[in-house]
Symmetry: C2
DNA sequence: TCCATGATTCGTTGTTTAACGAAGTGTCAT
DNA sequence: ATGACACTTCGTTAAACAACGAATCATGGA
């Protein structure tokens, strides 16, 4: 009975965290699964940066948000899918409006882009998520680093990437790299570099004139699909 | 965009309603689907009756609770299953504890009892819910009254109850009657009376010595199951 | 009818907390 | 190094609101 009470109490704390208008605006803004910076969220919440900082701190403590520090930016995002579900549920009660009107997953896709020496943009994020889903890589590594599974090694070897060649250097073999425009992780580290270099070599991707943009060739579309099971997006 | 904002705002209001400790205690206490009075809930929330009244008013406005007036009592209960789901969801996030530990549906069953001239207690409630589920009765009637469906008439006739004989009197043919101990509706009106009288006549139920309690016979268990599909409870 | 009891409304008090600006910390660029 | 920028921490103020007791309304029983 005592345990139950404490659950109720923390549940109530969580509800209270959502129950403040400025914080609710922050949370619902983050429902598209993109990470945003403190200052951006202060604009969304329509409060000063210091106030937003306090709100974000509280939301972190309530385990509704998580944060990733990247340089002098701190990217905040929803702590997990359960949080999104709670928010959807509340909206569902709120309006007679059906939950499908809530701006959750559907998101405008952005073009591929390079980030230093690996693939960023929507393609980079898709690839990143896909490798995790396929369990070629897993989050078991230290920090933001990913571990490569035996299956991943085999499959990547088939494609033409030898993991052993990438190991033993100072650089991580694979790690999540937060994307400036997508605000989600894409695949970085020497594996990310190897994939981009492979894609250039095989003419899956062409470098744009501005040096950062990438264009996927029709061959590239086919090959990304064949190798990773990625549906042609745009 | 404006519509979205308003949804967020009311969602935030709902969360705020849950986010006050006293109100959270009230809500989680009501998760067993039983209606409770204002004074009882004030005890649960550990506040005075006037404070509880204010909280209950707010929860009504937030559409998290509904209320049924019965004499000088007002029975409060959760507004719907979505509310329970939200509360469960919050608890799920709150603890690492799994949602199944939340005291939602499983509830100690109470013995059958008579309420004036019809069946109350757990059996009465079960019967009430069953008749609705089978769609022999529906909530289309005025107020707390139920309408009897054609199917219901036919099935009840098979059992030995002629609805036409019950109609045209001042009394409702069927209506929900809030149970003092179960705090949930059982089946009242002349249909309720007819069922109890039938159960006595056929020795499905025996009146206890105290005059209010009812004992289900083994024949009764069989027959309630055969006629209404009610599983033998205790 | 009158009284007892459940429940709500009202007015007051005290606590909580959201908001801001100013000052402090850390990171990138020149 | 030094300035610019992103972000947080601190101290203060003002508004929101939960709590209570007293008064009021409503219902059921004597």
């Amino acid at each position: 009975m005592d345990v139950m009470d404490s659950i109720d109490r923390t549940a109530s704390k969580i509800a209270a965290a959502i129950g403040e208008p400025a914080r609710a605006r922050i949370l619902y803004c983050l429902m598209d699964d993109r990470a945003r910076t403190s200052t951006e969220l202060s604009a969304v919440a329509e409060v000063g940066t210091s106030t937003a900082s306090a709100h974000l701190h509280l939301l972190l403590k309530a385990r509704l948000l998580k944060v990733v520090a990247q340089g002098r930016h701190r990217y905040y995002s929803l702590a997990g899918p359960e949080v999104g579900r709670i928010l959807e549920g509340l909206s569902a009660i709120a309006g007679t409006m059906s939950p499908k009107f809530i701006p959750s997953t559907p998101n405008r896709l952005r073009a591929a882009r390079s980030c230093y020496d690996h693939i960023a943009g929507s393609l980079g994020v898709t690839l990143h998520d896909r490798l995790l889903k396929l369990e070629w890589i897993s989050k078991n590594g230290e920090g933001a680093a990913y571990a490569i599974s035996p299956k991943g090694r085999a499959k990547l070897k088939e494609i033409g990437i030898e993991i052993v060649d990438l190991e033993g250097r100072r650089r991580h073999v694979a790690c999540g790299c937060l994307d400036w425009s997508e605000r989600r992780s894409h695949i970085g580290g020497s594996l990310g570099a190897a994939i981009l270099s492979l894609a250039f070599r095989r003419k899956w991707l062409l470098r744009d004139l501005d040096g950062r943009g990438l264009t996927q060739t029709s061959l590239g579309r086919q090959e990304f699909r064949r190798c990773f099971g990625i549906e042609p997006s745009n």
